[in-house]
Amino acid sequence: MTITLFLLILIVAIAFYFISIFNRLKTIQANIKSSIQEIGNQLKRQMLLLPNAATAVKNQKTFEKDIYKMLTDARKGVAEAMDTNNTGKIDQSQEMVSKALGSIKVVLESNPELKTAEISKQYLSELSDTSDKLMYSRRTLIDLTRDYNTIINTIPSGWVASFMGFKEEKGLDTPVTGEHLTVTEDETKKPNLDIG
């Protein structure tokens, strides 16, 4: 009597262990799936942001080029006039300067591109945030896969997993050999950045 009771309890305990391992692995599998989808989601966002960011930066560049051209023209005029010491020319160049300044003002006031710098800055920070999000969702995938594979490959949970046909998850597919695992002689040297 006591032996049958003992066996019954043992069987129930083992059944509970099987169920708990099964549910845990299934939960992690679902999380792995969602983390992969999250990576896709962020990649999509990146694709949508990129052309907008490119346009914004391009706009800003042409806008800045125009203003710089006006300013350098005016400055050149002033320098020439100073050299010649001709009062007429000085007046003329003065006029050029005020004209340039005036048109810059007009550009700044009337042109919606006045905010180009801010807009492209915003797009660039959105982009860098998206790449952060990509990195962190890959991190999630890596962490989840590690937890999953640990359960599968350690005993006794591994026995249960193989009995129920769970296979190892790949996670972030990274080549196990190659250049990213070796350090060359050149890479050990102190970096010398030439910013020109």
């Binding site: 999380n31 945030d129 952060d132 999000k133 969702s137 991190r139 999630t140 962490d143």
Partner: protein, 291 residues
Amino acid sequence: MLNVYEQVSINKTRSVIVIALFITFVLGVSYLITYTLDLDPSIIMGAFIFSTFSAIGSYFFGDKIVLGLNGAREAQRKEFFNYYTVTENLSLASQIPVPKMYVIDSPALNAFATGRDPQHAVICVTTGLLEKLSRTQLEGVIAHELSHVVNYDIRLMMLVSILVGSLSILSDLLLRGHARSRNRNRSSGMLALVGFILILFSPLIAQLIQLALSRQREFLADASGVKLTRQPSGLIEALTIIATDPNHLQNAAPSTAPLFISNPFKGQTIATLFSTHPPIEQRIATLQKML
């Protein structure tokens, strides 16, 4: 070192102990007063109802109390882009829902997290911190706060700061009120007695806070924060900037001090009572070993 599941279960157990001790303490004090002054025993019943309700209240609305005490307002994505997105990213990495985000308008550099569990968590930083720190440094600070969220430090620290902290402040108020009042009638005398008893117990209360919130907690949060960002330098730089900043968080509520990432009352007398923070230099040194 403890793993995160052990930390969670320790914090949950300690939260229950804090509530039980609080109710017992209030009951004990009210019994003492009723007994010595020969008052109506219904006071004890009142004290029991009062302490139970304040325990339940601080469990469910503690985050709002803490935020209100410190004058925080909700943060918008547009206004605080870095803060908002960094918190989103790090909660993604730590696999918790994105907590509610708040800011305190102050030039001081500080941050805290509170709430009863990761599903009801709040993160709060000062605007000064958002202005002075770069994105990477901010990531270090937010990762530290999210670690407090993940391992249920927030629940314990919230209960301790509201329940236990309020007792010591109450005693201070009662005693000072008695010393100031000219006509010392019976009721003010009784309040002073309550204050006096609380003062007698205040070393015990302080000891309790110390026990509940061991200094290890901040080191643990630093370490698990770094495990999230994989970048100790961000938090090291942030802590260095925080340590050298002269601004104090003027309107911080004293009892909520243990919640903050760095003691908001550094160098002030009240700091000794709530000295649950290890010196920042020590934390930086520990982090530097991880580099």
